[in-house]
């Protein structure tokens, strides 16, 4: 029982810290690209900015409109957040530093990652607001369209690694000497990152929020602490999907040439560094790109990403059998 509590506590803290690191990175990236002084110079060179942000949201009134479906409306943010935290359980920071090394780790991760969108859909539905509803429905459409390339991109990795355990996948990459992104899964990696960006609803795929179209999408009616939970979940989700991408494609906690005996010490640092690099790319994309249109988003998924990922699987399988 204690072990479970410790593990859950670790998960929550790790995911929260990851989210805060990514929040800092995002606002600092934004202010760097937009020449905004706030998060770059104010208050310990801008590093206490997230704290100010959190305090601001906490002290705000938590408004619940009269017409909403109260229980659903209240619990939707928690649902989104819990699904993000749970996702982190299977990410290994070293062969032993992992909350749950599941046999079907990949399967678990992909299944849980789609749960968050259901939270988004319920938030949109229960808000009794047409903009929220449209945001929720867009999120659902996005989930269906991008879950498929996400899974299919991972299938290539699974074929190559011959296992679905995330630890196993990293070990396979150590055995090979090069991460999978170099060892034949470059297309899979790109598809995974595009689909993951759509899953976490970031620019250029942020239609469910689309503040210039749907005011704030599914979050329109939320305020105060509940809005904060959505806000943190977004970064948590981004952090964890980047961590999974690093694990699957970039060799996870390992870098070549470092002694494997010390992996428990450098593993988390290495993983965090890789995650942060991926995160930075997402930040750079977010602050430099416009938003796609809803139909263009669907076209991209169904007409380009899914066929490409199928071809990727085929090629991987042929290589696996042939050589």
């Amino acid at each position: 029982m204690t072990e479970v509590l410790v593990k859950v506590g670790f998960l929550a803290i790790a995911a929260l810290n990851g989210a805060i690191i990514f929040t800092i990175m995002d606002v600092k990236g934004a202010s760097w690209m937009q020449r905004r002084p706030g998060p770059l110079h104010v208050g310990l060179r801008g590093f206490i900015f997230p704290l100010a942000e959190i305090l601001k949201f906490v002290q705000k009134e938590d408004i619940i409109p009269t017409e909403v479906d109260r229980p659903v409306f209240k619990w939707a943010p928690a649902y989104v957040m819990v699904s993000c935290v749970a996702l982190f359980a299977v990410v290994p920071m070293s062969p032993t530093l992992v909350v749950a090394d599941l046999e079907l780790g990949v399967f678990f991760a992909l299944a849980i990652s789609s749960l968050g969108t259901i939270g988004v859909l319920t938030a949109g539905w229960s808000s009794a607001n047409k903009y929220s509803l449209m945001g929720g429905l867009r999120a659902a459409g996005q989930l269906i369209a991008y879950e498929l390339p996400l899974i299919l991109a991972v299938v290539g990795v699974v074929i190559q690694a011959e296992t679905m355990s995330l630890v196993g996948i990293v070990e396979k990459q150590i055995e090979w000497g090069v991460p999978f992104v170099v060892g034949g899964q470059i297309v899979g990696f790109l598809i995974f990152m595009v689909a993951a960006t759509a899953e976490m609803m970031r620019v250029p795929f942020d239609m469910p929020i689309g503040e210039s179209e749907l005011t704030m999408g599914f979050m329109t009616e939320y305020s105060g602490i509940r809005f904060l939970i959505f806000y943190i979940s977004e970064y948590m989700n981004m952090f964890i999907l980047c961590a999974i991408a690093s694990t699957l494609f970039l060799g996870g906690y390992h870098v070549p040439l470092l002694p494997t005996e010390w992996v428990n010490f450098y593993g988390p640092v290495v993983l965090l560094t890789k995650t942060a690099i991926l995160g930075f790319i997402l930040v750079a994309i977010r602050w430099s790109q416009p938003r796609f249109r809803e139909d263009q988003l669907q076209n991209l998924a169904w007409k380009i990403l899914i066929p490409a990922s199928l071809v990727n699987i085929l090629v991987t399988a042929v290589m696996k059998v042939g050589f």
Binding site: A30, M33, Q34, R35, R36, K130, M134, V203, P204, D206, M207, G210, E211, S212, E213, L214, T215, R286, W287, S288, Q289, P290, R291, F292, R293, E294, D295, Q296
Partner: protein, 398 residues
């Protein structure tokens, strides 16, 4: 088994018939008056079928201030203050056609120097208006960064306007017969009235070079962006015929391929002394409307640079009577404002104020094509099309 498709069984299987043919009810979506992308308080009531929009009905009047009525109880110099606030993004250019109309009726010849100062400030107002459009339009299609750059660059231009007129948005700088002495020009005496502040020429040259650079940057960073092109090319195509019938003017009309610019066609300001191009679009889509405005910024900057070099000396103000009474008559003066044709129809009865002042604003006519352009558009396109019309609600509602 009962056949649910058989019309006779339809009534008892009313639920089953739903699965046979899905007839969804259209949702009425109320966009605005408080919506981030409606440039103020425009309200659109639209029917949405999923993402598709049809039967768009603009609802106006949230910003209606009744300037035409107010003008009837004010004297001519007082009206300048009112008309400043019509299109507040380019406050200076609102004054020009009104003042020009009053001067035309009074048969006052405005000194060349005053005309040049008017022209420079009008072009600066155009540049600042197009900066706002550029930033806001990128924001509307989802790019969050350009607005910060646009606002920063606009600030330089506004500082210049402020240094001359004392006001950033509502200069109230024109007087019938000329312009007033500049705000930053130091102490004035009756013998020596100074019009432009020290260092104005130098600062303007720097600022205009920056404007040309910024426009170039916009062309590369926004115009060259694939997602932006995908969002705007072939979206919201407006043909020249429709545009003309609806009185759509300005950059929107030029983007549809009509080379029409009141700066060259009328003589309210001495534009004929300068050398500049009139950018014209080809397809009349959102991208062209954006492109025309960015190119116009460069042309305006060129005009300002030329006007600075060829600034004539002389008085600022023609001789006008102490109490301004406009002789009986009527005239319509139109000007090429950043948003299109703006004009004032002044009906004077020889009194202190006009008997009737009709204000023709560009945005009013430009917005009136929204129901046609938005028919069958997707919701994200609705925002892209609306943004590309670049209207200001003060200009629509007056």
């Amino acid at each position: 088994m009962v056949n649910a498709l058989d019309p006779q069984n339809m009534n008892s299987f009313s639920e089953a018939s739903v699965s046979v043919e899905i007839e969804t009810e259209d949702m009425t979506l109320n966009i605005g008056p408080q919506h981030p992308s409606t440039h103020g308080v425009l309200r659109l009531v639209a029917k949405v079928d999923g993402e598709k929009v049809h039967d768009v009905k603009p609802v106006l009047g949230y910003m209606h201030r009744g300037y035409e009525k107010l003008a009837e109880v004010r004297s001519y110099p007082q009206i300048t203050t009112l008309v400043n606030r019509i299109d507040w993004v380019a406050g200076f250019s609102n004054e020009i056609p009104f003042i020009a109309g009053a001067e035309r009726l009074m048969e006052i010849e405005v000194p060349e120097r005053a005309k040049h100062i008017r022209l420079i400030l009008t072009e600066m107002a155009r540049i600042s208006s197009h900066f706002v459009f550029n930033g806001a339009y990128a924001l509307e299609v989802g790019a969050l960064t350009p607005i910060f750059y646009a606002m920063e660059d606009r600030e330089r231009v506004l500082d210049l306007i402020e240094s001359v007129t004392g006001g950033r948005f509502h200069p109230n700088f024109n007087r019938i017969g000329g312009v007033k002495p500049a705000a930053g020009a130091g102490p004035t005496s009756k013998k020596n009235i100074q019009d432009l502040p020290a260092g104005f020429y130098r600062d303007t040259k720097v600022a205009m070079e920056k404007v040309i650079q910024a426009a170039d940057q916009f062309q590369n960073l926004i115009g060259g962006n694939e997602v932006f092109k995908k969002r705007t090319k072939n979206v919201g195509v407006l043909t020249a015929e429709t545009a003309e019938a609806y009185g759509v003017s300005g950059p929107i009309l030029r983007a549809s391929g009509v080379k029409s610019d009141l700066r060259t066609q009328t003589d309210y300001l001495p534009y004929d002394q300068f050398d500049y191009d009139i950018p014209v679009g080809e397809n009349g889509d959102c991208y062209d409307r954006w492109d025309v405005r960015v190119k116009e910024m460069v042309e305006s900057a060129k005009i300002v640079l030329q006007a600075i070099d060829s600034m004539p000396s002389g008085p600022l103000q023609a001789k006008v009577p102490k109490v301004i009474k406009v002789p009986q008559g009527r005239t319509y003066v139109r000007a090429e404002n950043p948003k299109g044709e703006m004009g004032y129809y002044i009906v004077s009865d020889g009194g202190l104020g006009p008997y009737r002042l009709k204000v023709r604003t560009a945005s009013f006519s430009n917005v009136s094509i929204l129901p046609i352009m938005l028919e069958g558009a997707l919701l994200p396109d609705l925002i892209a099309i609306m943004g590309s019309l670049d209207f200001v609600l003060g200009d629509v509602d007056r």
